[in-house]
């Protein structure tokens, strides 16, 4: 199709990967919280830190795609 560049497809793949990763983290954190509700605040912090790291990798890719495309 006209007008859809590789950049856009690449961005789609980036989002897919990041979403999978963050989804896995969310799943893991939910299960851990259900098992041990008393440490849920610690789990929450760890969850956000790791999600932020994945988001960081995705943002790098987005910026590269942006600069290239």
């Amino acid at each position: 199709m006209e007008g859809i560049s590789f950049t856009v497809i690449g961005l789609g793949i980036i989002i897919l990967g990041a979403a999978l990763g963050i989804g896995q983290i969310g799943k893991g954190a939910m299960e851990a919280m259900a098992r041990q509700p008393e440490i849920s605040s610690k789990i929450q912090t760890a969850m956000i830190v790791i999600a932020a790291l994945i988001e960081g990798a995705a943002l790098f890719a987005i910026v590269v795609a942006w600069l290239k495309g």
Binding site: S41, T45, I48, V49, A52, L53, E55, G56, L59, F60, I62, V63
Partner: protein
């Protein structure tokens, strides 16, 4: 119940804000409404603070905007004037032997005739002066700083007047839980107890400053609406602060991990050292991009959803468009707090990695 109505009213107001902004865009450009242009104009910086545009009884377009001071430094000449001097479009302002010209929200140096030279991709080749102007973003940032100082000095006064252990009253009730949360669950959880106090003022300040700037950016009418925390220079500055805060106070152990990682074979050391070294810079770099990308994306989504009406040129999509942008607005209120929280948490984490004693 009253609170519910208030909130609904507030949300409706917020949804109407970008709507009026979009209609201004349409009014300015006539029938052909360029979405990208309107959005880029709204998330970009400007030398005027736009308040409202409307058509008067004769059908003329009236722009009401607040001119902001332009401060330019060029080869020993300092020039301070209001941006309304540019309002004629082609007006030139002399500075030394050169002239200043405003073109597409940027100030260039030109000759006396105001000639602009263009490159192959229609980019302007004219040099630019050192620009220290109070632009829309800077004005919005100063407002956020002013509000923050007003709030915090007021709260601090009432603590010193009534004593730190007295039951909190008034605004204290709002601020105290937030400050305590940042102190106990963000900073103290990441940094060793005996060192956390040194970084507490910095981390509390960036938390509230980012939050205030995010919230001001979400107000769709005059004093708000600037995309300050979605400006990469702003987030870069904050990330540089975190970079220095973590590296200047780094422990011996932290530098050893970077410069000569212990406990791994010697050939791996030469692989690990560059990685650790680059890691020093990628951490604040990701911090910078995260805030920038999240806030800018939020502004773009709200404006795009509102623009659907003007792209399709139909009033019947308005309910859908308003509902969607309303939902995104509510989400952005959460994101404003969440991004301030994440920036502070990760800053505290990086500082903690650098200064904590090895256990």
């Amino acid at each position: 119940m009253r609170a519910f109505f208030l909130l609904t009213g507030l949300f409706m107001w917020m949804a109407v804000g970008p709507l009026s902004a979009a209609s201004e865009g349409e009014a300015a450009t006539g029938k052909d409404f360029d979405v990208t242009d309107m959005i880029m104009h709204h998330i970009g910086d400007s030398y005027v603070f736009h308040i409202v545009s409307f058509r008067n009884g004769k059908g003329e377009l009236v722009d009401v905007s607040l001119p902001l001071p332009v401060i330019v430094w060029q080869e020993g000449h300092l020039k301070v004037f209001l941006s309304s001097r540019f309002s004629g479009g082609n007006d030139l302002v002399p500075i030394g032997n050169d002239h200043l010209r405003l073109y597409h929200e940027k100030i260039y140096l030109t000759d006396a005739a105001g000639t602009l030279h263009f490159g192959a991709d229609h980019e302007v080749l004219n040099p630019r002066p050192l620009d220290l102007s109070i632009t829309k973003n800077v004005a919005s940032m100063l407002l956020a700083g002013f509000l923050l100082a007003l709030l915090m000095i007021g709260v601090g006064r009432s603590y010193s007047r009534r004593g730190g252990l007295a039951v909190p009253k008034g605004v204290q009730l709002v601020v105290e839980p937030v400050v305590l949360y940042v102190r106990d669950d963000i900073v103290n959880a990441q940094i060793d107890k005996d060192k956390a106090g040194r970084f507490m003022p910095f981390l509390l300040t960036i938390f509230f400053f980012i939050w205030f700037n995010n919230m001001l950016g979400l107000i769709p009418f005059f004093p708000g609406g600037a995309n300050m925390s979605g400006n990469i220079a702003f987030t870069l500055t904050l990330a540089v602060f975190t970079f220095f805060a973590s590296n200047l106070f780094g422990s011996r152990h932290y530098w050893q991990e970077i410069l000569w990682p212990p406990g791994i074979p010697i050939y791996l050391k030469f692989l690990m050292i560059p990685i650790e070294f680059i890691g020093m810079f990628t951490k604040p770099f990701a911090l910078m991009l995260r805030l920038f990308a999240n806030i800018t994306a939020g502004h773009i989504i709200v404006l795009s959803l509102t623009s659907i009406i003007f792209v399709l040129q139909s009033i019947y999509v308005a309910p859908l468009s308003i509902l969607l942008s309303l939902m995104i607005f509510a989400l952005e209120l959460l994101v404003a707090l969440l991004q301030a929280y994440i920036f502070t948490l990760l800053s505290a984490l990086f500082i903690g990695l650098a200064v904590n004693e090895h256990h």
